[in-house]
């Protein structure tokens, strides 16, 4: 069955169109005037003004590695994040803890931990999968570099961005 679209009944002034054009021009002029007088403040001038303070708790920025309260690296090089990473941005070279340490033969540690930020999609699966709570997505979003090599975050950079996060896992601490 044919459906007839009801057209609005326009008045004479709406039909000749010019008054509505003038009304429209008045609206755009109002916006222009408010901008010129500095009354509207919508745009942020990015590098000078930032929204960082307002980022939500769950914001997913660059992935980082964290240390515990004793300055020990938490990552045990289990490579779960490497396996789950959808764009395969993470590359871990596992190594053994030296035998003089009291944690020798207990766990491994990452000799190298590289995250290719030109591949990372900030999905947060690495954070979710990590059994040791060693990798977190922090609030850094301006990841730049001048070459592909620049865009790879090595272990030192990841720890520098991550810092320490105490009181998450107690397996390293002496028993009370």
């Amino acid at each position: 069955m044919a459906y007839t679209v009801r057209r609005p009944n326009l008045t004479f002034w709406e039909k000749i169109y010019l008054p509505n054009i003038i009304a429209g021009l008045a609206i755009t002029f109002k916006h222009l005037k408010k901008m010129l007088k500095g009354e509207t403040h919508v745009v942020m001038q990015y590098p000078e003004e930032k929204w960082d303070a307002h980022l939500p708790e769950y914001y997913r920025g660059a992935p980082t590695l964290v240390k515990d309260e004793h300055g020990r690296e938490r990552c045990v090089s289990c490579q779960l994040c490497e396996f789950i990473c959808p764009p395969r941005a993470i590359k871990i070279t596992p190594g053994s803890i030296p035998s003089e340490s009291k944690f020798a033969k207990v766990e491994k540690f990452p000799e190298a931990f590289d995250i290719d930020m030109s591949r990372c999609i900030y999905c947060g699966l690495c954070e979710e999968v990590c059994p040791e709570q060693a990798i977190f997505l922090r609030k850094d979003y301006a990841v730049t570099g001048e070459s592909r090599a620049d865009m790879v975050h090595h272990k030192e950079k990841l720890y520098e961005l991550g810092g320490t996060m105490p009181d998450l896992v107690h397996k390293w601490n002496p028993e009370k």
Binding site: I21, L25, T28, L32, M35, L36, T40, V42
Partner: protein
């Protein structure tokens, strides 16, 4: 030797000087800064800021910060021009090469040629500030301006691809439709002035007040008051047709980017695209100049003395001559700002609405307007 003496060297030299001054010192800078104004005004209307920080990139050469010589991004047109010059000049394999290269030229040349007959100032240095003071002025403008459509049609056709082709078709039908109302709406003005020469049009407006504001000479007779009505109608029709003629929104169907990617210049890049861009804006300037000459008194400023041929060599006369040129282009820039303002206010017409408006309304209004004007001129002395 005989032949050499017959060549009017003075005339040629002054014409070349005036052309160079008009194109390179006035029109092209206005074109590039109209593009800048377009971006800034559109941004401000939409509560944004627009390009506001372009400086000279001396940080490329090891300096710590870029040089912010121009405030508020005024260097943007320079950066744009450099960008267009440095980009890859790409010609697709499937195009008709000869016409593909010809089209940008044909878009640019007519727009600049129309400037030849525009009186952009009074006497200066003993010269009348118009490149060619011909007595078919307005006819020449219409004739050359309508050649501008060939650039667009050829671009659309030679690109050998569907969107440019549709853009070219739309451009040709739109230009033909609006050329009629454009010409017809200028007729009442020419009937009132009684002359096709644009310098005489300005002289008439100096003596009797600007056509759109007939009280600028200090008095408003009954005849002027009655003629005001057809002049107003004619101004509105002329301006609307000029929007369509220069492919400005709300009539930019040849390049409507929501439907046709970029319309007729989809396949163009780098300087060839820039020529279309410049041509479009130069056509806008030419169009606004015609509006200024026909309706807004050209370079005339009320209450300001007017140079004669003799006084234009004195220092005061030179200052006055430059003031008149400035006044002319100030009016043109005013109209350009209005063009931009309208562009960021109105949405694009549908194609059938465009055709309906052109053929069923503007054409008839312009035609009837001629008879109204003729009646008033015949009956009221």
């Amino acid at each position: 030797m005989e032949l050499l003496n017959t060549i009017p060297w003075m005339l040629i030299a002054s014409s070349v000087a005036k052309t160079l001054f008009l194109i390179f010192l006035v029109v092209l800078p206005i074109v590039s800064y109209t593009v800048y104004a377009e971006r800034r005004v559109s941004a401000l209307i939409q509560d944004r800021l627009g390009p506001n920080r372009t400086g000279f990139p001396i940080s490329l050469f090891g300096f710590k910060k870029d040089l912010q010589l121009f405030l508020g991004g005024l260097g943007q047109p320079v950066a744009d021009a450099v960008k267009f010059l440095l980009k890859e000049e790409f010609t697709p394999a499937h195009v008709n090469k000869f016409y593909f290269w010809l089209a940008p030229v044909l878009a640019m040349v007519p727009a600049l040629s129309t400037l030849a007959v525009l009186p952009f100032g009074n006497y200066l240095f003993g010269q009348k500030m118009v490149v060619a003071d011909v007595n078919v002025g307005i006819l020449y403008v219409f004739a050359i301006a309508s050649i501008g459509v060939y650039g667009i049609v050829l671009a659309g056709w030679s690109s050998n691809s569907k969107y440019p082709f549709l853009g070219g078709i739309r451009a040709s039908s739109q230009m033909i439709s609006y050329e009629l109302s454009l010409g017809l709406s200028a007729v009442p003005v020419l009937m009132i002035i009684g002359n096709l020469n644009l310098s005489d049009a300005i002289q008439y407006q100096i003596d009797n007040g600007w056509l759109l504001l007939p009280f600028t000479d200090g008095k408003l007779t009954l005849r002027e008051f009655l003629l005001w009505i057809p002049v107003l109608i004619s101004f509105i029709v002329f301006t609307i047709s000029m929007f369509a003629e220069t492919n400005r929104l709300p009539f930019d169907l040849p390049e409507s980017e929501t439907e046709l990617v970029a319309g007729y210049h989809t396949e163009y890049s780098a300087m060839k695209f820039a020529l279309f861009f410049l041509g479009e804006y130069a056509a806008m300037i030419a169009g606004s100049s015609i509006i200024v000459v026909l309706f807004l008194g050209g370079w005339h400023v009320p209450l300001l003395p007017i140079n004669t041929l003799e006084s234009s060599m004195t220092p005061g006369g030179i200052a006055l001559g430059f003031l008149h040129i400035t006044a002319f282009f100030a009016k043109v820039i005013g109209i350009l700002i209005f063009f931009i303002w309208v562009r960021w206010t109105l949405p694009r017409f549908r194609f059938d609405q465009l055709m309906k408006l052109g053929w069923l309304y503007l054409f008839e209004i312009a035609l009837v307007n001629i008879f109204i004007t003729a009646g008033i001129i015949a009956l009221v002395k």
